[in-house]
């Protein structure tokens, strides 16, 4: 190896318009190294990888500043195929496999070995015959090199999930001149045994001099497998360290640490003795990508209860399970009455309003007016805003408009009038309409999921302030789910951190950064205690 680094990213900066998402980030990876890339959601990991792979989103939004060097040579990829040609591969979190094809066919997908035929000489290479013997041989070699004994002509359908991951890896290895592989949360879908096996395979790969960038949220895996690690936070480089010179607690702190402003009213995390508003026991929710595997907690009346954690860990699933949008098991008691989780609209009838994280999908009827959106759920569940017309009840437009005007004033929804279509509003104003719709139901408990996602600062502040005001003036109980830890810590009385579908710990807002970081990395309270003390 005449070059010291297989990959060098130097001073990478990327902005989407005014919004800087990466600022002066550098990353160096040596051949045969496993380099862990860590950070919370939105820390800039995926943007960095998008730059590395020359994804369209990057140069469609004005490209990036800084230098990317592969084996010492500066490159500027404009399409993923460029990156592939330069020897960079990606093992996807979602399998890019075709179940009906054999393992060989999947490994060789789009890169089949062919032999010329008479027709191909006349009509071009696309009519060349597949050279199945060569394909089988290559596949065999790749599979052997990662220690997989499975026959190459077996169909992928029906293989265990772990094997599919290995087929993906074999495909990357099979590519000619592969130098660097990116593993994006590879263990997320694996069982524990499979995950261990995967880490071994990663080790085997690096023996051949191939470097690996390992993106994961499981810090214990990082400690086990990686040689070095780099932490990003809010688009900035926090630091790069050899694993040998650091420990769990330090990494966790590096990931979360931030000076928390506006801590102001933050409580001490003690449970009040008010009556219990909602009691959740052993809740399992079958929500794709946000599966909940048994959580229990109580929220007391007048409390603002936060639920945090990384994306895909299940925090959003809790809210969707309680509100009946995804099938759930377990027991939920709201204000002393049990909820039937399988009945639609049950939560609404028990005074629980839900503002979904999926604003445009679940939260709004985009083609309808603001006024219509605000009153709709109350109209269906509580039969309000209707007036008698002969034998039937029809929509009372006047009442609907009036109420909408009130809400528009109250929440400062920026619009031409209540008749404007919701689809034409900005994200922040759409969120306000969602909130208005939830409040119209006069709920006793409000569940807001990712209330500030994708909206501007002004609207963010207004919504957060309004939530506090509601609690103080009306005694409303609020469960707030957010990926923004800072937001939760400045607002909530207690914060539950969810990882792998379970509540790892319930922390007071003033707990240390290391405690939060460890909880988010699925290190339980007891273990965390040990780590912090040591």
């Amino acid at each position: 190896m005449h070059e010291k680094y297989v990959l060098q990213l130097e001073g990478i900066r990327k902005a989407y318009g005014e919004n800087v998402v990466l600022d002066d980030v550098s990353l160096r990876v040596k051949p045969g190294e496993i380099h862990a890339l860590l950070g919370e959601n939105g820390a800039g990991k995926s943007t960095l990888m998008n730059i590395l792979f020359g994804m369209r989103v990057i140069h469609d939004t004005g490209g990036y500043d800084g230098v990317v060097k592969i084996s010492g040579e500066e490159v500027k990829f404009t399409a993923p195929t460029d990156a592939l040609a330069a020897g960079i591969g990606m093992v996807h979190q979602e399998f890019m496999l075709i179940p009906g094809f054999t393992i060989t066919e999947n490994i060789k997908l789009g890169r089949e070995d062919t032999a010329p035929t008479v027709a191909s000489r006349i009509f071009g290479k696309s009519l060349e015959r597949l050279d199945r013997e060569k394909m089988d041989g290559d596949a065999r070699r790749s599979l052997d090199s990662i220690g997989m004994g499975i026959e190459e002509h077996v169909r992928v359908a029906g293989l265990p999930v772990g094997y599919m991951q290995f087929v993906e890896i074999a495909r990357e290895i099979d590519k000619l001149g592969i130098k660097l592989l990116v593993f994006d949360e590879p263990t997320a879908v694996l069982t524990e045994g499979e995950a261990t096996q995967l880490l071994e395979v990663m080790n085997t790969i690096t023996q051949k001099g191939i470097a690996i960038i390992f993106i994961t949220h499981r810090l214990s895996e990082v400690m086990d497998a990686a040689h070095n690690m780099t932490v990003l936070r809010d688009g900035e480089l926090v630091g790069t360290k050899p694993i040998a010179e650091t420990n769990l607690a330090e990494i966790a702190e590096m990931m979360v640490g931030r000076s928390i402003e506006n801590l102001g009213i933050a409580a001490d995390g003690e449970e009040s003795d008010a009556p219990i508003a909602i009691s959740v026991r052993d809740l399992h929710v079958d929500m794709p990508g946000e599966r909940v595997r048994g959580v229990s907690f109580d929220v007391r009346e007048g409390e603002i209860f936060g639920i945090g954690g990384m994306a895909g860990q299940g925090k959003v699933g809790i809210a969707n399970g309680i509100s009946g949008l995804f099938s759930a098991e377990g027991s939920v008691t709201a204000f002393g009455q049990p909820l039937n989780l399988s009945r639609l609209g049950e939560a609404l009838e028990h005074g629980i309003a839900f503002v979904s994280e999926d604003r445009r999908g679940v939260g709004l009827l985009l083609d309808e007016s603001i006024a219509y959106n605000i009153m709709f759920r109350v109209m269906t569940t509580q039969r309000e805003f209707l007036s008698r017309f002969g034998p039937i009840k029809l929509l009372n437009r006047r009442k609907m408009q009036q109420h909408a005007d009130d809400m528009i004033k109250l929440l400062d929804i920026r619009c031409r009038s209540g008749r404007q279509k919701v689809g034409t509003l900005s994200g922040g104003n759409q969120q306000k309409v969602c909130l208005a719709s939830a409040l119209t139901a006069k709920p006793k408990l409000l569940i807001v999921s990712e209330p500030t996602r994708g909206i501007d600062i002004g609207a963010k502040e207004l919504i957060l302030n309004y939530l506090t005001k509601l609690r103080e003036e009306e005694g409303l109980t609020v469960i707030m789910i957010s990926s923004e830890l800072g937001e939760l810590r400045s607002l909530c009385d207690r914060i539950a951190i969810v990882a792998d579908g379970k509540i790892v710990n319930i922390l007071p807002p003033n707990a240390t950064d290391a405690e939060y970081g460890l909880a988010m990395s699925a290190v339980s309270a007891e273990e965390a205690g040990k780590v912090v003390q040591s």
């Binding site: 609209g345 679940v362 939260g363 929509l395």
Partner: protein, 372 residues
């Protein structure tokens, strides 16, 4: 909605025109231009415009309720209901039974001739509904299982049902000679003359003429009444719930609405309107057309409502009024005009019908976001 946005946004003239074209839809604009052009041509060729206009009005009412049947289907989320033919054959069975009973003397107690025809039509509608509603429920349940492919399935379910009923028509046990095929003495005729039965039941009452323009207020009243009732339904709680289920199922679910039930409801109403619509159609046409006649009717009505500005996801009563008018307007004028202008070419209106009907459906399909 379109007019409002156009008015409120301040922008240059060109932008306004563009927006107008976009909001109004290119095909609708083309059809509207064609419609006006045809009228002008008819004027130039010195044809009897008032008489044509009377005809357009008649065909408008004739097809109206069948086109209206698209609204609940689209609103509930099953998309354009090509399988409205399921309801149509239900209506046809009602008509056949009603005629048969009439000739057996069941309705002789109604002596007033006008009332007699209306009673006959109402009986046909009642029997048609009794058949169409359960068929609609079953059909709706089927469509719930094929979410995402409703259109293709509904087309072929419609075809299959029409073809299955061919066998039924050929064996239908009736006694009235007006219904039976004279050649074999068994099975129904292809076309049954309704002169002695409910022909003109709603057309004839109150009919008057201004010059050459015949106006049939009875027919139009029935059509407008149906449209008004549909409009009221869309403003009722149930109607709004159904429309939410169609336009955003996850939103509807989050609002405690059973989306599946709403889709069955929409399909059933659509099927039921198909049964009613065919009776109105037949009484105005004067003949009951059996066998393969309803086969492509589904496409005609889908095209009409799309022409009125509906999409495969959104339809309003207004779209029905406009679409049915434009569609029938063009075809009604094109036929005599073509005969005058191109006496040697027999099939011009038919080509025009094919191109308009299927062109508009194709356009609407290509506007749907393709499956991932």
């Amino acid at each position: 909605m379109s007019q409002m946005t156009a008015k409120n946004e301040p922008s240059t003239f060109v932008k306004n025109v563009k927006r107008l074209v976009n909001d109004f839809g290119l095909p609708r604009l083309i059809i509207l231009t064609l419609f006006i052009l045809l009228f002008v041509m008819a004027g130039i060729y010195d044809m009897n415009l008032p008489s044509f206009f009377g005809d357009v009005l008649r065909r408008w009412g004739m097809w109206g309720i069948l086109v209206l049947a698209m609204v609940p289907g689209i609103q509930s989320g099953i998309g354009p209901n090509f399988g409205v033919t399921v309801g149509i054959v239900g209506g046809l069975v009602g008509a056949v039974l009603s005629i048969n009973m009439n000739h057996a003397g069941v309705f002789d107690f109604v002596t007033n001739p006008a009332l007699h025809t209306i009673v006959l039509a109402l009986v046909a509608i009642a029997i048609g509904l009794a058949l169409a509603i359960p068929m609609g429920i079953l059909y709706g349940m089927l469509l719930n299982r094929v979410k995402g492919s409703e259109m293709a399935v509904s087309v072929y379910v419609g075809f299959s049902v029409v073809n299955l009923f061919n066998i039924l028509w050929a064996t239908f046990p009736v006694t009235a000679s007006i219904l039976i095929l004279p050649a074999t003495g068994r099975g129904l005729r292809q076309m049954v003359n309704l002169r002695d039965d409910f022909g003109g039941a709603f057309d004839e009452p109150l009919r008057f003429a201004i010059g050459d323009m015949t106006i049939r207020p009875g027919l139009l009243i029935v059509f407008f009444l149906a449209c008004f009732l549909m409009y009221l339904f869309t403003r009722s709680r149930l109607g709004m719930m159904m429309s939410a289920a169609g336009s955003n199922p996850s939103y509807a679910r989050a609002s405690g609405i059973n989306v599946e039930k709403m889709r069955v409801l929409g399909t059933t109403i659509s099927t039921a309107l198909g049964a009613v619509g065919i009776i109105i159609y037949a009484q105005s046409f004067g003949f009951l057309q059996l066998y393969l006649a309803p086969l492509m009717m589904g496409f005609t009505v889908v095209a009409s409502v799309l022409l009125g500005g509906a999409t495969v996801r959104r339809a309003r009563v207004f779209d029905v009024l406009l679409g049915a008018f434009l569609f029938n307007g063009i075809l009604t004028i094109a036929l005599p005009l073509a005969n005058t202008m191109l006496p040697d070419v027999p099939g011009v209106p038919e080509m025009l019908r094919l191109i308009i009907t299927y062109g508009i459906v194709l356009y609407a399909l290509s506007k749907v976001k393709g499956g991932r």
